[in-house]
């Protein structure tokens, strides 16, 4: 038999081979669908509903619980803003763990969206000499103050600009979100973020089934995959329902304030109009919607 070395037969064989490899690899239709899924922003309502239903089923199978995954869009006339009172924060890290539980962050390997920086009062805000591993018996410690840092929800987000596949974007209510299915894990956004607010799933994320929060948003706290980037979303699954984010609710000193920047009667507007306010790394023109203030 004569060997056929033509380009045509090569293409034919390779497509056959890859198809059979796909079939042999045990890929079911769902996984193929997921692989071929479009970017969240171009999905039709029907496609969103179908995807969410299949996600809910998938999670139920994995965790043996009923899940609610929302794809609720931004509310009209809402631009979220956050303020943190530096004169009150005592560095207890309760926000870090409340965030982790609310947003299903991987426990092992550990991912935390909030980092609390301890700084010396004498040096002022000085990132280079800050410490996130402080661990005394009691906080606050004499001579130190604390600066919790999480996603600053920039109006001009450098992370969004650098994403080569448009897997991350700023929503109309000002929250920068990630489509985990579309993220290719290149981590350009992590390099671009001046606040260290983005985190990469180097390993398979792991949340114990009894601790998983079943109230989810597609663009927020649904379980992530290995190889994707994640970040704070102002608890999108809570804030779009009108609730305060988990870190606001847990803070024992009431240092965390949240609301609608477009509402002149909101707490956040009162702070901006009446308190001494600063943003981190203002010189970078990222225009954070996360403000630090002095309540005293």
């Amino acid at each position: 038999m004569k060997k056929d070395n033509s380009r045509r037969s090569f293409l034919k064989n390779i497509s056959l081979a890859s198809f059979s490899a796909l079939a042999l690899a045990g890929c079911n239709m769902k996984e193929i669908d997921e692989f071929l899924q479009k970017n969240f922003r171009v999905l039709s309502e029907k496609e969103k509903t179908d995807i969410i239903r299949s996600l809910e089923e998938k999670y139920k199978e994995k965790y043996d619980k009923e899940f609610h995954v929302s794809a609720k869009p931004a509310m009209e006339g809402v631009l979220f803003g956050y303020a943190l009172d530096l004169s009150k924060c005592i560095g207890c890290r309760k926000c870090v763990y409340a965030c982790s539980e609310e947003n299903n962050q991987s426990r092992e390997p550990q991912i935390q969206w909030i980092q609390v920086l301890q700084m010396e009062k004498e040096k002022g805000i000085d990132f280079a000499h800050s410490n996130i591993h402080y661990n005394p018996e009691k906080v606050p410690e004499e001579g130190y103050f604390y600066v919790p840092v999480q996603c600053q929800q920039c109006e001009n987000p450098p992370c969004v600009k650098v994403c080569p596949v448009k897997a991350t974007w700023k929503e109309p209510d000002g929250i920068t979100v990630v489509d985990y299915n579309w993220c290719i894990g290149c981590r350009y956004c992590m390099a671009a973020c001046p606040y260290g607010a983005r985190h990469f799933n180097w390993g398979e994320p792991n949340v114990p089934a009894e601790e998983i929060n079943t109230n989810m948003h597609y663009l927020g706290n649904r379980p992530r995959m290995k190889g994707v980037v994640e970040k704070c979303t102002f608890c999108i699954q809570r804030s779009r329902e009108g609730k305060y984010p988990a870190c606001v609710e847990i803070c024992p000193v009431g240092a965390r304030k949240f609301g609608n920047l477009l509402d002149p009667n909101s707490e956040i507007r009162y702070i901006l109009e009446n308190k001494r306010v600063l943003v981190l790394k203002q010189e970078l023109n990222t225009q954070p919607k996360f403000y630090y203030f002095f309540g005293v």
Partner: protein, 188 residues
């Protein structure tokens, strides 16, 4: 802008006066459901704020009149020995110039009293605190000092000053911090 602010503050004033007059006639069903005794510090239709908890009395200590109705009041400033000596011991709130009967009423033991002599329910203790800490009271009323929980665009819950600050020793107590994050080099 300035004019607007003025208008706003007039509105606020009018509103608080109205609240003071009508407190107790609150008709919001939702609030009634949660706790009939709680009162609202702010309610303009859009925002409603309700107290989450009762004033934090030590167990078995209220009403004060249970004991005090049997005791002849002694208005002389003195060191307490048999009862409330624990409070005397921790008392650190301008202790040089103040003592029990500056805030507690000599005759109506179940009430607090303002400097004016006006009696005050324990649920409104923030007004007593506000006599000296006016700027804090102002910030607290708008939800900037202290903690708010609930809805950023709707019903909110507040805590009283005394839920976080012991009125006899108001400095916020130190806490044990949660564990620090795993060090990068310890992640495998």
């Amino acid at each position: 802008m300035k004019n607007q602010n003025k208008k706003l503050s007039v509105l606020f004033l009018a509103f608080f006066t109205a609240m003071a007059i009508f407190s107790g006639c609150l008709n919001d069903n939702k609030i009634d459901q949660i706790n009939t005794e709680m009162q609202s510090i702010q309610s303009d239709g859009k925002y409603t704020e309700i107290a989450v908890e009762q004033p934090p009395f030590s167990i078995g200590i209220f009403p004060c009149s249970d004991c005090h109705s049997l005791i002849e009041p002694n208005p002389a400033r003195r060191e307490l020995v048999e009862m409330h000596d624990d409070i005397d011991e921790i008392f650190h709130h301008d202790s040089e110039n103040r003592w029990c009967l500056d805030c507690h009423d000599t005759n109506s033991r179940d009430s607090l009293k303002l400097a004016s002599g006006k009696l005050l329910d324990f649920k409104e203790s923030y007004k007593l605190c506000g006599q000296c800490h006016g700027n804090k009271l102002r910030d607290w009323k708008v939800g900037v000092h202290g903690k708010r929980t609930g809805n950023w665009n709707g019903e909110k819950e507040y805590l009283l000053c005394v839920h976080c600050h012991d009125p006899h020793a108001p400095k916020f107590k130190e806490l044990m911090p949660e564990p620090p994050p795993v060090r990068q080099e310890d992640i495998h």
